[in-house]
């Protein structure tokens, strides 16, 4: 199906509220969906025979720190049966106080089991909680690691279990990342 036909079909079932189609920039267009509607939409996207998005290609996060501080959760879906693709986005605001109350979203790991690990990685890197993921913990980093490295304002703790994580200057050459 063409992108517009997919969009029409989604609108017919879910309604137009909380949906926003962005195609005014180069690259792949995407659909922004409100986080309350995500689960319903996901069930429908996989189940509807005309859409049948059977593969979750990629689940990832993007942190934007401009005027607004927000984390996007991005879903790339593909249908092997109909050979069409759709990009979904859910935008979560990240306020300065108690951000973990806001960084919460429904897990889709029941619908696409591949999401199980991808959600764990997104939690690990961005601190987004996926409610309903059955095995929810960090994936790549150790369980007692502090912070979520792919957040733009992440600063590594200088010591982890009595091991320093940064190196000193050697003869004036600064080792490691510099901003």
């Amino acid at each position: 199906m063409q992108k517009q036909a997919i969009l029409e079909r989604i609108k017919r079932i879910i309604g137009e509220a909380d949906l926003q189609w962005i195609d005014d920039q180069p690259g792949d267009p995407y659909l922004i969906v409100g986080k309350e509607k995500l689960l319903r939409l996901a069930i429908y996207l996989k189940g509807d025979p005309h859409l049948s998005f059977d593969t979750l290609l990629c689940l990832s996060g993007v942190h934007n720190m401009g005027d607004e501080d927000e984390i996007e959760v991005v879903y790339h879906l593909y249908s092997l049966r109909h050979r069409h693709q759709l990009t979904l986005k859910v935008i979560l605001e990240r306020p300065a106080f108690f951000p973990h109350f806001y960084l919460k979203i429904d897990s889709i790991s029941e619908i696409w089991p591949a999401a199980g690990w991808m959600e764990r990685e997104t939690y690990d890197m961005f601190g987004v909680h996926f409610v309903g993921n059955k095995d929810f913990r960090r994936l790549l980093l150790p369980p007692d690691w502090e912070g979520h490295p792919l957040q733009k304002d992440y600063r590594e703790s200088p010591v982890y279990r009595d091991i320093t994580t940064t190196r000193e200057e050697i003869d004036g050459i600064v080792v490691g990342f510099q901003e």
């Binding site: 690259g27 290609l57 591949a114």
Partner: protein, 372 residues
């Protein structure tokens, strides 16, 4: 009186000969049977996605070599195609053919390692030494081409770094003439070996539904009977002009659909097809420039792109978000080994301990690609 049994927690890895890098499994076993298998990854996490946000587009190319060190060319190529699509860079035809040439050569040696270590994990050490011997030859060819044998950093935005040296195609042709009969010899050695087949047919079967649900890609997906190859179905570079078959599991020569033997056999068949592609490339390769080189610093307009290519371990996806400027705003790397590892918990539970080794080897998981 029935014999009392007791469940036991067994730690496998991180350093285990069968884990091909550093992977760890926590197994709850009862005798030889695994009740629950929990993979523990992250030992090779190097933060490549964070590094990508800190360096310029061109500077990230050498890091993609380290993404999957057995198929560095394919990782280079996937990243280059992503950036080219985002920046709208044209690639000269000669460069496209050179890229496909090196990518398919790399696919051959990556699959050689895969089938060699698979045989070794199953207790046959000799085939591994044979496959390494063939791989050395290709490593020599690559060394001649770009100076390195493992991490090539050869593909550039808009072409490749260096043109083919004099006589390269003749030497490549000599390798292919040597390699094809060798492949048949492998089949006599191990592929058709009764012991090897009995050991693997019907072991750790992955159904087509599970394969899709857990997003298996590449040879693992095709072994489960799903006919999907990006090179044929969504051709990039010059794959659209080349003629090749996509081997799929479930035929007469294969074992049971989606078992360890199918996954092994698909890789052997893919090597044959890669040889076919290489021969066509050698015929069709045009003269001309090898690099559409730009002197300007690469800047990408705001936008986002998800580009997939077919690496030896399946689809390699790069999700690039640009907000303008010299560095990516976000670069997510989605690899085939990652999703292959995520299915181990489901398929591994219920197997015998020795069959878990077969499962991991047949999925062809490479640890740095899982952890990134």
């Amino acid at each position: 009186m029935p014999l009392a049994t007791e469940s036991m927690v067994l730690n496998m890895g991180p350093h285990h000969p069968s884990t091909h890098g550093v992977l760890r499994f926590i197994l709850r076993t009862d005798g030889e049977v695994i009740h629950h298998c929990r993979p523990d990854i992250g030992y090779l996490h190097r933060g490549l996605e964070k590094i990508a946000e800190k360096v310029s587009y061109a500077h990230f190319m050498p890091y993609t070599d380290r993404l999957d060190y057995l198929a560095a060319m394919n990782c280079n190529l996937g990243y280059a195609i992503t950036v080219e699509r985002a920046a709208g860079i044209e690639v000269p035809p000669r460069a496209e053919y050179i890229r496909v040439l090196v990518a398919e050569l790399n696919r051959i040696i990556s699959h050689l390692i895969s089938v060699g270590t698979f045989a070794m994990d199953m207790g046959a050490v000799t085939p591994f030494t044979h496959s390494l011997r063939e791989r050395e030859w290709v490593n020599d060819l690559f060394e001649e081409l770009c100076g390195s044998r493992l991490t090539y950093n050869y593909v550039r935005f808009g072409g490749v770094a260096l043109d083919l040296p004099d006589g390269f195609l003749q030497r490549l042709s000599r390798f292919l003439d040597y390699f094809e009969p060798r492949l048949r010899q492998y089949n006599r050695f191990i592929s058709k070996n009764k012991i090897f087949k009995e050991r693997l047919v019907g072991v750790a079967v992955i159904s087509p539904k599970d394969a899709l649900d857990y997003k298996l890609v590449g040879p693992n997906l095709r072994a489960s009977g799903i006919d999907w190859d990006l090179r044929r179905d969504e051709p990039y570079s010059v794959y659209g002009e080349l003629d090749f078959d996509v081997p799929v599991g479930g035929g007469a020569e294969m074992g049971e659909l989606g078992d360890c033997y199918s996954r092994y056999w698909i890789r052997i068949r893919e090597m044959e097809q890669s040889v076919r592609i290489l021969r066509q490339c050698m015929e069709k390769i045009p003269d001309g420039s090898h690099w559409n080189r730009s002197k300007k610093k690469l800047k990408i307009e705001p936008g986002e792109f998800y580009v997939r290519t077919e690496a030896p371990r399946g689809e390699l996806g790069f999700y690039l978000v640009s907000k303008g400027g010299l560095k990516p705003h976000r670069l997510k790397i989605m690899t085939g080994s990652f999703s292959a590892m995520s299915i181990v918990e489901k398929v591994g539970s219920g197997l015998m301990v020795a069959d878990l080794v077969a499962l991991i080897a047949s999925l062809d998981v490479v640890a740095p690609e899982v952890d990134r």
